[in-house]
Subunit: 124 residues, 4 copies
Amino acid sequence: MTGTSLRDPAKKYFGPDVSDRERAIFEGAITLGAIYHQFIGTPIRDRKMLERTIEQAALAQPFVERASVRISIPKRKRKPPYDYPVLSAEMLTVSLVARYGEARVELGMKYVEELDYPLMFIRR
Amino acid sequence: MTGTSLRDPAKKYFGPDVSDRERAIFEGAITLGAIYHQFIGTPIRDRKMLERTIEQAALAQPFVERASVRISIPKRKRKPPYDYPVLSAEMLTVSLVARYGEARVELGMKYVEELDYPLMFIRR
Amino acid sequence: MTGTSLRDPAKKYFGPDVSDRERAIFEGAITLGAIYHQFIGTPIRDRKMLERTIEQAALAQPFVERASVRISIPKRKRKPPYDYPVLSAEMLTVSLVARYGEARVELGMKYVEELDYPLMFIRR
Amino acid sequence: MTGTSLRDPAKKYFGPDVSDRERAIFEGAITLGAIYHQFIGTPIRDRKMLERTIEQAALAQPFVERASVRISIPKRKRKPPYDYPVLSAEMLTVSLVARYGEARVELGMKYVEELDYPLMFIRR
């Protein structure tokens, strides 16, 4: 019996067969999709502050317990004054821990060269 | 043994204990987060076309098999020419089917008055 | 003396020295910034419908009179099922006409190879 | 004769009759549209950091010289854990200075109760 479940007024809107682990995966995955589609396109001037801001946005989501975001900016060759970087999915490495009841899952996102794709995944 | 699993070059990036059902939940939930954070703020002039466009964006995501989006716009009282609506989470009702291997899950999003919150949920 | 000016309840919030042409530039430029930051990151499945949807979003903005959007998708080499394109600024060619009072301006956005930059500009 | 004009490799893409003041308005207005459509929908956990992050995104844009962002969050009545605020246009007060050549303009955005609208404007 978990405190989290008891304090969740939305539980009744979920199917009765949804386990705590499935719910944790659900909440973490929403957050990954949110990060991608909220912040892609942001002009970057203070990389570290943008990383922290994305982490805070993730942590605002219910049931996200830990969030770590790293942005890696490739070298640019644009002419000034047009040489500032803009956040793309390829720059993002995200690691989250989502918790629901007794279940805790690690999820993440990173660019995978082999797929040429910013992959989102469940680590365990 | 499913065709989908065999054709997924990203499978190895997931923990070995992730079930097909968990993966389907994961993919559907990413799509719900994506829809919210991609389209909120869009000025609305052709409501039905925007609904179809959001559905197509959802269906572009791997493993999303069906998508249905409805936008309901409350009456406004703004003065012209500032009286056009802008998509908010409260206006959105989304229903998705995500499939991975043999598993198929129904997920959705709708505004829940009781919570005053645009809730995302797993139906079954 | 123009009908538009008379019907604009926001005019008093602008500096008294703002000309109709400056206001038309202002409104058109907001719309260019809006298109970029609203739609970048959208997964593309029906390119033509997404073009029309972006045009409608532009036309919802006060004082935007005409809008034309073209998306050109470069060839991809990703593995299925991860081979769908996602809207980037480089894919977008936008042409707008903004009008305020007697003034009418043409503005646009396109990727400029020389600058390696999705440039926004005032045509005339 | 200004250094800025000389250093702008994009100048030739603009109509020959575009004044420095019009260009400054153009650049500032793009930034207002960008802020709105980039950040609306962001979950807020650290309000002050989000304000600074939006300012930095504005300052990354060419020709934006100063940026000040304030977010005011109305009281909520949602049930925990769904009680976090999400950035809406109504919460935003933005003030920018854009400069091009000799021209400097002040632009802004704020919610105007009379219009029930998050108005963007040129102050002078």
